[in-house]
């Protein structure tokens, strides 16, 4: 019985040491640069705005960076260069754009060496709405397809080729 008690005390002390040890380590965590610098083309969700306008032109071949689909949008305050990201993402989601379309976009403006560009997080046309970026501003074309529903995944899995 005494041996069992000692073992229990020992285990408890060890657990306490682990907790204390973790606490000590937590206090020693390095001070990382959390407020890192913001460079050109960094999406700032705090600067998001909504813009409405008319498509002057839509191209899937950018004349200048960033690579991806661009729209020249006529708004009440002038013409904007809108970056939509991968055109294939729009096509896969059956979202088409053409000259004369009225659209509403939510996103953030950025100053680049090529001029100001508007990175779109959400685009709406008529009753159709498509998210192009995550809430953090990352392009959904990177891995957005992984957010399919289980039913959609199951259907895809049954049709999938070699993995």
């Amino acid at each position: 019985m005494q041996k069992t008690t000692l073992v229990r005390i020992s285990v408890a002390l060890f657990a306490l040491l682990l907790v204390l040890g973790t606490s000590v380590w937590a206090q020693k965590l390095a001070d990382r640069p959390r407020a890192a610098s913001m460079r050109s083309l960094a999406y700032d969700a705090k600067q998001e705005t909504a813009v409405e306008g008319t498509v002057l032109s839509y191209t899937t071949e950018a004349a200048m960076p960033p690579i991806g689909a661009h729209v020249q949008l006529q708004t009440a305050s002038g013409t904007m260069d809108i970056h939509l990201g991968a055109a294939s993402y729009l096509e896969a989601n059956h979202f088409s754009l053409a000259k004369g379309d009225s659209v509403r976009v939510v996103g953030a403006s950025l100053a680049t060496r090529q001029g100001t560009i508007f990175l779109v997080r959400l685009i709406q046309k008529g009753g159709q709405s498509l998210a192009l970026r995550t809430a953090k501003g990352a392009p959904l074309s990177f891995a957005g397809a992984r957010l399919l529903s289980p039913a959609q995944r199951g259907q895809l899995a049954s049709q999938a080729g070699p993995r």
């Binding site: 991806g68 055109a87 070699p162």
Partner: protein
């Protein structure tokens, strides 16, 4: 050198027209004109034993490109046959552990070859290049997906918990459960009994760095009862579940097994010393890849660390989805600092500022005083890679002359299509001035619109070394088939055996490396 190959970017380039006399174009497969007979000492017998591999890239999922990862092990018999093995895949339909049935491979004299791995879902095909009989680069070139990575011969003596007892540094990259790009780097101690302690990590999800964190409860590693003979095990690292494949006691390959998140990466044994600012005291070259707010990003460069916290001779080439930034900027100057964590466990931070472009911030975990995993921490950028000590130099065309294995990954805008690309092949360098580089490569152009594979595509051009060779050099490669294309790279030499490459064209984002063959 244990050079981690970075799966860099995931995206979607149709570069070429498909006509040329004397060449073949069958459906989505294009084969270049017959190359000169390969030379070298490689053969099927060069690939013999158990090999671990890992790679990541882009698959097609519901009409969209999507990041995916795989890692595994196969056994080659030295005669063109794969007798078995297993892999873990993390694809958009879920995760799976898939044993290989009878499969095949072929290696030519120059170390280039093919690998076909069959499981119960079918056969996946790869192009590969060996740097030696113990390691090489690999790219998936079958039209089902595009991906690239590396393979290394395994040491079965390390397939047990007791063999995994050391400090380790890790680096994984992938997508979070919210589909954001995410990089996690850090370090931990493994005790040889499956327990992990002193786990520290820094995560960067969609360009938002976490700051240094402790591993949450539940960290462990454990060899697999079913596939342990393949060096497979499972681990919980930094709060995420992985399958691992042991190369040897100093290196493990990781693939994330949680879903819908996906990660690919590696673990390296850490030198058992107390790291300090004095640990960084030489020139270093680095290569990073990942994703920014606008799309894929690739960065390469170099700096000199003085052992007391100062950085100088800083050069950087960044290609952020076609926007190329070079440091020092025109008319600008660059200065920087670094600091090692006071706990001596090898973590640290580096910062430099160009007077015109702005500040660049990074963190790292040292594997040794000459190697580290490296992560950018600037807002909106999720990018990680490798930091390697440079030779004192000089690097010259003569010192670089020889045969190299090459691997590249990235994206190209071609007309209205943006393709994901993975390249693997051989680059021959001579000491001549001018047209001193000739290459041959297999590669993919992969997008929802088309999936093309190119084989035996030849290229040539100049590698121009700017004395002393440890700063930015230029490599220009031009292909003539199926149509003329020019690829412009900045080349940062680690030493005469390894060179980092970053593409500086506005219509493509490419990064990779070349590694000397024997």
């Amino acid at each position: 050198m244990n050079l981690p190959v970075k799966r860099l970017l995931s995206f979607a380039a149709a570069l070429f027209a498909f006509v040329s006399a004397g060449c073949s174009n069958s459906g989505n497969t294009v084969v270049g004109p017959p190359p000169p007979p390969p030379t070298g000492n490689f053969s099927n017998s060069s690939l013999k034993g158990q090999y671990a591999f890992s790679m990541s890239g882009t698959e097609l999922c519901a009409g969209q490109g999507s990041f995916f990862a795989r890692a595994g092990s196969f056994t080659a018999d030295g005669s063109g046959h794969i007798s078995g093995g297993v892999e873990d895949v993390n694809v958009c339909t879920g995760v799976g552990t898939l044993p290989f049935t009878s499969s095949t491979y072929s290696i030519s004299a120059d170390g280039r070859g093919t690998l076909n791995l069959t499981n119960n879902t079918g056969t996946t095909s790869y192009s590969l290049i060996l740097t030696s009989p113990t390691q090489g680069f690999v790219a998936q070139t079958d039209g089902n997906a595009t991906a690239s990575g590396s393979l290394q011969r395994q040491n079965p003596a390390a397939f047990s918990n007791p063999a995994i007892a050391n400090g380790y540094v890790f680096d994984v990259f992938g997508a979070s459960s919210a589909s954001n790009p995410e990089s996690i780097i850090g370090r931990f101690d493994a005790d040889g009994a499956g327990n992990i302690s002193l786990g520290l990590y820094d995560s960067n999800e969609a360009g938002t760095p976490s700051g240094q964190q402790l591993f949450p409860a539940g960290a462990l590693y454990q060899f697999d009862h079913t596939f342990g003979q393949s060096g497979r095990g499972v681990a919980n690292i930094a709060g995420h579940n992985f399958a691992f494949y042991v190369v040897d006691a100093t290196r493990l390959k990781l693939v994330g097994t949680d879903f819908p998140e996906v990660f690919s990466g590696e673990v390296f044994a850490q030198r058992n010393i107390a790291f300090s600012d004095a640990s960084l005291n030489s020139g270093f070259a680095f290569l990073l890849g990942g994703s920014s707010s606008s799309g894929p990003i690739a960065t390469a460069g170099r700096f000199a660390a003085d052992g007391v916290g100062n950085l100088s001779e800083i050069f950087l080439d960044e290609n952020n989805n076609g926007t190329v930034t070079l440091l020092p900027s025109q008319g600008g100057t660059v200065a920087g600092t670094y600091i090692l964590d006071a706990n001596g466990l090898g973590g640290g931070a580096a910062t430099w500022t160009d007077t015109k472009v702005g500040t660049f911030t990074f963190i790292f975990y040292l594997i040794s005083p000459t190697e580290a995993v490296f992560q950018e921490t600037d807002t909106g950028i999720t990018s990680d890679g490798t930091l390697l000590a440079q030779t004192a130099g000089p690097i010259t065309p003569a010192s670089l002359a020889g045969d190299f294995a090459s691997v590249l990954s990235g994206v190209t805008q071609n007309g209205s299509i943006v393709d994901s690309n993975d390249f693997v092949g051989q680059l021959k360098l001579t000491s001549a001035s001018g047209n001193n580089a000739t290459g041959i490569m297999d590669f993919t152009e992969f997008s929802p619109a088309h999936q093309h594979q190119f084989f035996d595509i030849q290229s040539s051009g100049p590698l121009n070394i700017t004395s002393p060779g440890t700063g930015p050099n230029t490599l220009t490669l031009t292909t003539t088939f199926p149509s003329p294309q020019t690829f412009n790279f900045t080349a940062y030499a680690v030493d005469s055996n390894t060179v980092f490459l970053v593409g500086v064209d506005n219509n493509r984002v490419l990064a990779g490396s070349i590694a000397r063959q024997p």
